[in-house]
């Protein structure tokens, strides 16, 4: 049996069967509806749309297929409801436009008409969302055009088209994240598949009812639960507390006295709760319902046969557990898929302000540490992994950390260079010399060179009496350190700072950077800076709040 030419009467029957099949499965489509708005009305809308089309077709049955097509397009346009309904009307508007002038059509015409429908449908959208009915229609039409090249039998054509539509429908969750999240296929796409199934059934001379729903009960249950989550926010707000799932295996004597129809069964059950799903065939009926009295539901089911595969869950309990768990364990941070960089610079610093400063000039990671708090090799290794770069440059900014940094460099899988900066200003000078387009060896060399371009002065306080480098130091005195060497002490930190700078500043000094620590007040800084500007009129004075402990001032002289 084959159909090589399609006339208006046959096409009208196809439309009617398609509409009936969609109508029978409208509830399934509703349950899948999570996009664009999870209001569960896609099936209803599509059904109303196509029923309006079919009605117009019935009123205008003709041998002329072009006329039937026009009637379908008109009916769909008049009755279009919802997003999917409007898209469906566009698909068939394009379809009927293509066959308008034809008395009968061949497989080629049919395929091209499907394609024309897709084109029309895509024209009416600004930003097509893939993974919807549009995608399913497009993939199916493309397949149809390919098949029609060598195939005259419209039945085979429709079979192949439907097969592709189904395959495309199964792919929709990969294209549209919201579908994947809920674990369903696109509702509009499913609706279109039902229409195509109706078409094929008519071509094959079958009756519609024989086609088994392609959606599984699990998908529907997931979709229903998803919708409940949307609406139920407080545990107390759950109106129907038990998620009840079971199957009834029909028993002949019971069904004889009490004939089963899916529609009545569904209507009767709806009084017990919400989120109701019913799927039946000749032998069993599957039920999912959220009910307050699950016992009553089960008793009702037993009127038709024996109960199998029962599952009842207390949703209030689950929900409060869920809320409790969410409180107890904060949601894990989403894994950020960082792009792997060519270079990453890691530096070690103490004080938020200094860390910020380093980041602002290009450091990828700043490890907390410094005098009296040295990061371990492991801390550095961790930072190397975190920066996610092929080449890593480490600036220890302290002579005590250089060893640990070198060890980490040896162990790490990445290419790691340690530029032996001993002070924060040296580290900064080195970063400023970094050239992102160069290679690792070049950068290591230029950055090492940059270390020498800067002089470092530090003011810190003595923790005990001692005598170093010939300088007598008393506890709590402020010490001035020039490039690692203690040169003076003073009871007052500002005086110490001025004295230290007087030994370090020379005619070549152009930029004096002052990084003040957490123990220094704003007023002290302002006072000091204005004095410094007066004393060294040729130098530019820059001030940063390093918030570092231990060191009242860090000076960088370039």
């Amino acid at each position: 049996m084959s159909v090589k030419v399609l006339n208006g009467k046959r096409f009208a029957q196809m439309v009617i069967q398609g509409a009936n099949h969609l109508s029978n499965n409208a509830k399934t489509v509703d349950a899948l509806n999570v996009f664009p708005v999870p209001d569960g009305d896609t099936g209803t809308n599509m059904n109303l749309s196509i029923t309006s089309g079919a009605k117009e077709v019935k009123a205008n049955v003709s041998e002329h297929i072009g006329k039937v097509g026009s009637a379908l397009a008109k009916g769909l346009l008049m009755g279009a409801r919802g997003n999917s309904g409007v898209i469906l009307s566009q698909l068939f508007r394009g379809f009927s436009k293509h066959i308008e002038a034809k008395e009968t059509i061949t497989s080629k015409d049919f395929a091209q008409a499907l394609e024309a429908g897709v084109q029309t449908a895509y024209k009416a959208v600004m930003k097509p969302v893939e993974g919807t009915i549009l995608t399913v229609a497009k993939d199916a039409a493309k397949k149809a055009v390919a098949v029609a090249k060598n195939e005259e039998d419209i039945i085979v054509l429709m079979e192949e088209t439907l097969k592709e539509a189904n395959a495309s429908l199964k792919r929709t969750p990969d294209l549209l994240p919201v579908l994947k999240e809920v674990g369903v296929v696109d509702s509009g796409g499913q609706g279109l598949v039902y229409v195509y199934e109706g078409f094929l059934a008519e071509l094959k001379g079958q009756r519609i009812e024989d086609i088994v729903p392609t959606t599984t009960m699990n998908e529907l249950v997931n979709a229903e639960h998803h919708k409940s989550v949307h609406s139920a926010i407080n545990t107390e707000d759950i109106e129907f507390g038990y998620c009840t799932e079971f199957m009834v295996k029909f028993e002949e004597d019971k069904v004889r006295d009490n004939p089963f129809t899916e529609e009545n069964f569904r209507n009767d059950l709806s009084q017990y709760g919400d989120s109701l799903l019913v799927i039946a065939d000749e032998e069993i009926v599957k039920v999912h319902i959220h009910a307050e009295q699950p016992g009553d539901v089960l008793t009702y089911g037993q009127k038709y046969g024996s109960l199998i595969n029962m599952k009842i869950e207390n949703m209030r309990e689950q929900h409060s557990n869920l809320l409790f768990e969410e409180d107890a364990y904060p949601a894990p941070k989403p894994e950020v898929n960082k792009k792997r960089e060519k270079f990453g610079i890691i530096t070690v610093a103490m004080g938020e302000g200094i860390a910020e400063l380093f980041k602002s000039i290009g450091a990828k990671a700043v490890i907390e540490g410094g005098q009296t708090m040295n990061p371990s090799t492991e801390d550095i290794l961790k930072a190397i992994d975190e920066v996610n770069a092929d080449n890593v440059i480490i600036l220890p900014n302290n002579s005590n950390i250089i060893m640990a940094a070198k060890q980490a460099a040896e162990v790490a899988e990445q290419n790691v260079a340690v530029v032996e900066s001993k002070t924060v200003p040296q580290g900064m000078a080195a970063i400023l010399a970094f050239n992102p387009t160069g290679d690792l060896a070049d950068n290591e060399a230029t950055m090492k060179e940059a270390l020498g371009s800067v002089k470092t002065g530090q003011i810190t306080f003595a923790v005990r009496d001692t005598n170093i480098d010939g300088v007598e130091i008393q506890k709590d005195d402020f010490m001035g350190i020039a490039d690692g060497k203690i040169v003076l002490t003073n009871k007052d930190k500002k005086a110490a700072a001025k004295e230290l700078l007087s030994t370090m500043m020379d005619d070549d000094a152009e930029i004096l950077t002052v990084i003040y620590g957490e123990d220094v007040s704003e007023e002290d800084v302002e006072e000091l800076v204005s004095e410094l500007e007066e004393t060294y009129p040729d130098a530019e004075v820059e001030v940063h709040n390093g918030k570092q402990p231990l060191y009242s001032f860090i000076f960088s002289i370039e």
């Binding site: 008049m78 409801r81 997003n83 409007v86 009416a124 600004m126 969302v129």
Partner: protein, 120 residues
């Protein structure tokens, strides 16, 4: 003018531009709409589809007392059921604003400013 939400930690101010951008973004997701139109289009007599970066010009957010009203100026595609497309835009925008900002819109007026005919 902005929308204020009070939380236990303090206040959150959401500017009307944010609301307009979200509304516009949600609208163009809808099938059958080909763009946002400028509000003053009728006056100018120009049929211009706003480009993405300024489609908020076609979205007017108004607050009257505690109520939130939104006017949207759109252009639809020829051959679609215009009332239905407009209705879809209303539902989608309302839903999206509720999801993203927790705002409930009291009225959402759609002004269809133009129809784009693509088929000759």
């Amino acid at each position: 003018m902005s929308i204020e939400l009070k939380t236990s930690y303090g206040q959150i101010d959401i500017s009307n531009d944010v609301v307009a951008t979200i509304a516009g973004g949600a609208a163009i997701d809808c099938y059958g709409i080909v763009g946002m139109a400028s509000k003053s289009q009728l006056k100018d007599g120009l049929s211009e589809i706003l480009r993405k970066e300024n489609f908020t010009k076609g979205v007017i957010v108004r607050q009257e007392e505690d109520q939130l009203h939104i006017d949207m100026y759109i252009i639809v595609s020829y051959g679609t059921k215009i009332s239905e497309v407009a209705h879809n835009v209303q539902t989608k925008v309302k839903y999206t604003l509720n999801q993203m900002l927790g705002l409930s819109v009291d009225s959402l007026n759609i002004f269809v400013q133009g129809v784009r005919v693509t088929n000759p």
